[in-house]
């Protein structure tokens, strides 16, 4: 009996690859390009952060220069109220009495307020 055999010369090759041309650049070029863009961004960021530090320093020293005068203004106000309170106590009690057992200036936590508030 004759038997099925491969054709003479073998089978023709099966086409399993797609025959489409690759578009664009080679992938390594995209990789290099991305890293170049990133490097430029980080370069700018480096100087931007450095500039921000300088701007923060500028703001800080500007505030430091005007801080003493604002503090002096506030301290005068505190001293004025302290003396006013002392004078009122003297008028009410007739003597100088101290709340604390020291001569320290203490910013008052509790204050007597006028009973009728007109707002």
């Amino acid at each position: 009996m004759p038997q099925d055999m491969p054709p003479v010369g073998g089978y023709s090759p099966v086409q399993y690859k797609r025959n489409i041309p690759a578009r664009g650049f080679r992938p390594v070029h995209y990789l290099i390009g991305m890293h170049l863009v990133m490097a430029f961004g980080y370069y700018k960021l480096f100087y931007a952060v450095r500039e921000q530090h300088e701007l923060a320093r500028e703001k800080l020293w500007g505030r430091l220069h005007i801080l003493p005068l604002l503090q002096a203004e506030e301290d005068r106000d505190q001293a004025r109220r302290y003396y006013a309170d002392k004078a009122r106590e003297k008028e009410l009690f007739g003597t100088d009495n101290k709340v604390y057992h020291s001569d320290r200036f203490v910013r008052p936590t509790f204050m007597y307020t006028p009973s009728k508030v007109t707002q």
Binding site: K44, Y47, A48, R50, E51, Q52, E54, L55, R57, E58, K59, W61, G62, R63, L64, H65, I66, P68, L69, Q71, A72, E73, D75, R76, Q78, A79, R80, R81, Y82, Y83, A84, A87, D103, R104, F105, V106, R107, P108, T109, M111, T113, V117, Q119
Partner: protein, 160 residues
């Protein structure tokens, strides 16, 4: 006032008793936040000694500097008032331009470099006060120590 900032404040207490007569009077400074920010470096340049003196006094009398540093505080206030008065008499237009720019730009100094350089030049010419930022590391610009081509605010019309 106590150390804690009042969160549920319902009323305010205003005491109009004047300062006792034996304490010398000093006129308070009438400049508000934007002019003070604008003039801060000139105040710092002329009044550095008084400022340091006052803050040293505060640090040395820990806790009760309010009563003991009144003298130094008056010196600080008089010196700063003299600087603002001098700027007002000599460089009023540049000064006004700068602090109005600051007021419009959320008090961010880098938005107003053009007005600031005018003001710096005028104040240096007339009063001899210079803006220097202590400890700045970026060398290029002589007056402000901010880079010559800044990255921030590069697109605003107020720049240089």
């Amino acid at each position: 006032m106590s150390r804690r900032e009042p969160q549920f404040s319902q009323q305010t207490l205003i005491d109009t008793t004047p300062m006792p007569a034996e304490i010398p009077k000093v006129q308070e400074i009438g400049a508000t936040s934007a002019p003070l920010t604008s003039a801060a470096y000139f105040i710092g340049d002329r009044c550095q000694a008084y400022n340091d003196d006052f803050m040293k006094c505060k640090a040395e009398s820990n806790g009760r500097g309010e009563l003991e540093c009144l003298k130094e505080g008056r010196k600080v206030t008089r010196c700063a008032a003299s600087v603002i008065k001098d700027i007002n008499t000599h460089c009023l237009t540049q000064f006004t331009a700068h602090w109005e720019c600051l007021e419009n730009w959320n008090h961010r100094l880098w938005e107003c470099r053009k007005a600031e350089s005018d003001l710096n030049a005028c104040v240096f010419d007339k009063l001899g006060l210079k803006k220097t930022i202590p400890g700045a590391v970026e060398p290029p610009r002589p007056t402000t120590r901010i880079p010559q081509y800044p990255i921030y605010a590069a697109n605003t019309p107020n720049l240089r």
